[in-house]
Symmetry: C2
Subunit: 274 residues, 2 copies
């Protein structure tokens, strides 16, 4: 295992040159951001273990795992770096190891957040599998550590390793279902109802406490929920009669049953697990 790690180290640094300092490379735009340099690292043992824990990688053979990670590398990105851009070919499968990433899309001068990706999971799996252009762009929401696996290697191993292929099906089916829930929410609920249900879900994730913090800025929350920041601000006021108090990013749910009565949460829209 140690030797693998060392082998990779060399290859990773080759990749650094290719990917970060070459003129025409995918990531050459990164250095725009305040002159912050991206640290590119070997994928060390603990990271190997982290990645291996990913559901889609856990069951595959060691040999195929090695094939998959041979040309892979890990990189640290500062906040607000655009990792991928919609419309471009999907050169890499990205795996978020730490931090968080915003998936968004733009059209005709407008922009909308579509999802947030947290560790440890993948970006743009579907695009990689279909060898199709990205449908969404991605940018870091905070300092993030991200593994990049060449899409071609993913497809090669996908064709060779049945456990990997099956794991990907499960992951994709999960992703599909979560997007369907998103559409249902957009088409069936008003913005006030979406906010109310979001707060209920968030409270659940925060351990059910009556007081908890929003886990990202309101401007983004507005976009995720499909509304403007101004409207979100008013929507919070609109939930006061239903037992919600807001102070900065701190939310207090004084009366959960009242909020539930208004929000009418539904497992077929709000459950993340199934």
């Amino acid at each position: 295992m140690d030797r693998q790690g060392s082998n990779h180290a060399l290859i990773f640094f080759n990749q650094v040159v290719d990917l970060c300092y070459d003129g025409g490379s995918m990531y050459d735009g990164v250095n725009r951001y305040d002159g912050v340099s991206m640290r590119v690292d070997v994928m060390d043992d603990s990271e190997f273990r982290d990645i291996r824990k990913l559901e889609i990688l856990a069951q595959m053979t060691d040999e195929n795992f090695r094939k998959l990670t041979r040309r892979a590398y890990v990189q640290n990105f500062p906040v607000r770096v655009e990792l991928i851009t919609e419309g471009e070919p999907s050169d890499f499968l990205h795996i978020v190891l730490s931090g968080s990433v915003d998936l968004f899309s733009a059209w005709n001068g407008r922009e909308a957040s579509l999802a947030t990706v947290r560790p440890i999971s993948t970006l743009v799996l579907a695009a990689t599998i279909r060898d199709a252009p990205y449908l969404m762009s991605a940018r870091t929401l905070e300092k993030s550590r991200i593994a990049l696996i060449p899409s071609k290697d993913v497809r090669t191993v996908f064709d060779a390793d049945n456990a990997f292929a099956r794991a990907i099906v499960a992951e994709l089916a999960q992703c599909y279902r979560s997007v369907v829930k998103n559409i249902k929410e957009l088409k069936l609920r008003t913005s006030l109802e979406r906010l109310a249900n979001y707060l209920l879900r968030q409270q659940g994730r925060a351990g059910g406490e009556a007081v908890f913090d929003l886990d990202f800025e309101k401007r983004r929350l507005a976009s995720v929920l499909g509304m403007t920041p101004e409207h979100l601000s008013r929507a919070f006021k609109g939930l006061q009669p239903h037992g919600v108090t807001v102070n900065g990013t701190r939310i207090t749910i004084d009366n959960r049953s009242a909020l539930e009565k208004f929000a009418r949460p539904n497992p077929l829209i709000d459950d993340f697990s199934s």
Copy 2:
């Protein structure tokens, strides 16, 4: 091949008893609909060939195909029959052989169309794979012929047949991407823009003719596009300045380039193929 067909015939009729006339079966409610009886048929040779053509079934071994279709059967449904109901366990993988099916969802007294399924493709693949409850309901839009494969058999063969598993990944990735496009459309476009782009797509499907017919009723189109029928009626008027004339279900696009200028179609939202 003939012998296969005959063997299945007997099994199908056993299934008929189990599924259509038993008190507690999934489909016993079907006969509610105006006393119309569902015709349940053997899956004859031509239908075998049709199903086999389905991308997700084309590559699998004959033996696994037999396993998959052993307990499967084919049924004719009249218009407006609810085939599946959201929240119920996914007992069958449905394959639309002819006709068309509306996928929709309801919450809190509201209802929205989410997609239309046309031959030859599957419903609820993700639910079947994950052995999870349906997220959407489905009803026939017209007289339809539908094959039903027990979900358990799908999962069994999925575990045994690698070609099948891979084909399902491709199909799921495709479905995922199409749902993402749907979300982008909802979040980034106004209803007028959604209608304009829908007309451009529809014109393409109709062979590019300047005059073509809508392929389903306006009430449903409104729901698919995320608006009310009344608003759709006004939206059509709103597109007149952009070169669109409407007469009943007949659409005339007098000035495609003007419409495109307004609609700004984008392959990352409007392309169905990629």
